[in-house]
């Protein structure tokens, strides 16, 4: 198979106005991935599927990742000359990573038996701009997996034929795979009389005096 740089160059030639980035992977055995702008992702994916040299006809794995806003610390080695003596010191640089959700597609070719090409799509933020184009019209195999990402991460796939919750029940609120999700105290699906009964029961018993907390 071609290298990722060659694929990137060919995409930029064939699909106009596309911005692509190669995301490095620190694991030597893992694959680097191609970050695609959301607005052009469908065309890029269509190119990858239909191109005669690639023929990525099989979308194996689709998955979501949550990246909340965070401070990233990177250590940089710097050479400093102090009183004529060269010293190497380590400096920590803090950069702010804006929060976003990410969807990763692993594409293989069954016809030519090669792969994977890893596609990454990023949403603008984690709150209100979580729209991404659905690739289900290209690869039917992404249908349930995109539904699962919608369910567990809250990414909204525009163009998906049947975007509903899949693993959680329809009335569920929230997206449990997000890093900041807090599980409720009680998973009771149907409201039960327990709370009312307990509240009523508390009236019958004296309330324990609260221990004072020193500031």
């Amino acid at each position: 198979m071609e290298t990722l740089e060659q694929i990137k160059a060919r995409i930029e030639k064939s699909v106009p106005l596309t911005k692509l980035d190669i995301i490095p992977n620190e694991c030597p055995a893992g694959e680097r991935s191609l970050l695609v702008e959301a607005s052009r992702a469908f065309d890029v994916a269509k190119f990858l599927r239909d191109d005669a040299q690639l023929q990525l006809d099989y979308c194996s794995n689709v998955t979501g990742i949550d990246w909340p806003e965070a401070k990233i610390k990177t250590k940089v080695k710097k050479k400093v000359v102090v009183e004529g003596v060269e010293n190497e010191i380590e400096e920590t640089i803090e950069t702010l990573r804006s929060g976003h959700l990410e969807v990763v597609y692993h594409l293989y070719s069954m016809a030519l038996k090669h792969g994977p090409v890893v596609l990454r799509l990023r949403t603008e933020n984690r709150a209100d701009k979580t729209h991404l184009p659905s690739l289900t019209p290209l690869w039917r195999g992404a249908e349930f997996q995109e539904r699962e990402i919608y369910d567990l991460y809250g990414v909204i796939f525009d163009g998906h034929p049947d975007l509903r919750r899949i693993l959680m029940w329809d009335e569920f609120v929230g997206h449990p795979m997000r890093r900041d999700y807090v599980a409720p105290d009680d998973f009771e699906y149907e409201p039960t009389p327990h709370a009312e009964v307990l509240d009523a029961a508390k009236k019958h018993y004296p309330v324990e005096p609260k221990a004072e907390v020193k500031p």
């Binding site: 030597p28 055995a29 194996s60 990742i65």
Partner: protein, 386 residues
């Protein structure tokens, strides 16, 4: 307060102009129906006995396996992978171990790779055997074939129990090797089992291959084209029954599969009979691999000396690893941030994704065929719902 779902409802059937011309029946099939192989529900709309709409409903066994995996250490996920597809815990273990070995750059000793191949192929044998039992059971042959299948499966599970301590939840593999070594006595008994397995398959095939009911219920039912199967990301025996030669043991050549001589059986039409036959033929090939692996297993260590079980922190990076499980491509996608727990832990479950075009396969067929079609997909709900 949400009303409890009804088990069935009669709705009007309309023609193109919207006039009522009859009645359709909406049936909630499952979740507690024995033929759904677990707790799985299908909302089926029937016109007479014919299926006109089918929507699978998931999540009755959902425990958010992936979230659990992000909150516990790498090694602690290993016993959890047993519970995904509880029929094939050995291949689940292997897929996970293989992915982490790729991430951390661990090498697996030769003996351990041989043991892994033996375990994976034994798993394939028992999974396919019992699947055929269930499949025929779904067609109405209650009892006998399933019990024949379970008799053979139990012999393999005895071997697993002896080596790992558990029949089904084996928790056997580790990053960089396997947990317990096998001894010569175990290998000798496995050889005997494999030698006799061909005879059992002969018997099974004599019973089933030309059985009139099996032929009537399976031949030409729910054929799957190559293009459909590839586009819907179907993997495993279902894909090969549709005529696509794609087996990860040949494509990725993970483990030591390149050392063994075996063929990949491929079907023609992708109907239910092909899916049944592919599994029988795959078992024959597994026996070939087992014979070679059991004869050639070398002596040596079973763990990579660099592997450490405690305080395991792989370097940052991401990796996707996959193996050919008995049900299809089982993949793990792991992102490490250098900490003791994975940042992202994703399972690519084959039987969940194989259900994507269940509706397309069932449309136009009788409701009795839906059960057999679902049986041929080979699902395990522990993996579908995760």
């Amino acid at each position: 307060m949400i009303a409890a779902p009804k088990s069935f409802e009669v709705v009007p059937k309309r023609d193109a102009s919207g006039d009522a011309i009859g009645e359709l029946l909406e049936v909630s099939f499952g979740p507690h129906h024995p033929s759904t192989h677990g707790v799985f529900r299908m909302d089926i709309t029937l016109d007479g006995e014919k299926v006109v709409k089918l929507k699978p409903v998931f999540g009755y066994l959902h425990r958010n396996h992936e979230k659990i995996g992000e909150n516990i250490s790498y090694l602690a996920s290993m016993p959890y992978t047993d519970r995904l597809d509880y029929f094939c815990s050995m291949t689940n273990n292997w897929a996970y171990a293989l992915t982490i070995e790729k991430l951390a750059g661990l090498a697996v000793p030769e003996r351990a790779e041989y043991i892994r191949v033996i375990m994976a192929e034994l798993t394939r044998l028992q999974n396919h055997t019992s699947l055929i039992g269930f499949f025929v059971h779904d067609m109405g042959a209650l009892g006998t074939p399933l019990m024949y299948a379970f008799r053979e499966r139990e012999k393999i599970l005895d071997l697993f129990e002896e080596i790992s301590g558990a029949r089904m939840m084996c928790n056997y593999m580790r990053f960089g090797g396997v947990r317990v070594d096998v001894n010569d006595d175990w290998i000798a008994r496995t050889k005997t089992l494999v030698a006799n397995y061909g005879r059992f398959l002969d018997e099974f095939e004599t019973l089933l291959n030309e059985n009139e009911i099996l032929l009537a219920r399976t031949q030409g039912v729910s054929p799957l084209t190559k293009a459909q199967a590839i586009n819907a990301s179907i993997t495993g025996p279902m894909l090969r029954a549709a005529g696509v030669n794609y087996d990860l043991r040949k494509v990725d050549k993970y483990g030591f599969y390149s050392r063994f001589d075996f063929k990949v059986p491929v079907g023609e039409t992708g109907d239910l009979y092909d899916r049944y036959m592919i599994r029988v033929l795959e078992m024959r090939e597994s026996i070939k691999i087992l014979n070679q692996a059991l004869a050639g297993i070398p002596a040596g260590p079973i763990m990579d000396s660099k592997a450490k079980l405690r305080g395991f922190r792989p370097k940052p990076g991401e990796v996707y690893g996959r193996v050919e499980g008995p049900k299809g491509e089982l993949g793990f996608y792991i992102i490490s941030d250098g900490g003791p727990n994975p940042y992202r832990y994703r399972v690519r479950p084959p039987s969940f994704i194989n259900l994507t075009i269940l509706e397309d396969m069932c449309l136009g067929h009788k409701v009795a065929d839906v059960i057999v079609i679902l049986g041929s997909v080979d699902i395990v709900l522990g993996e579908v719902d995760r």
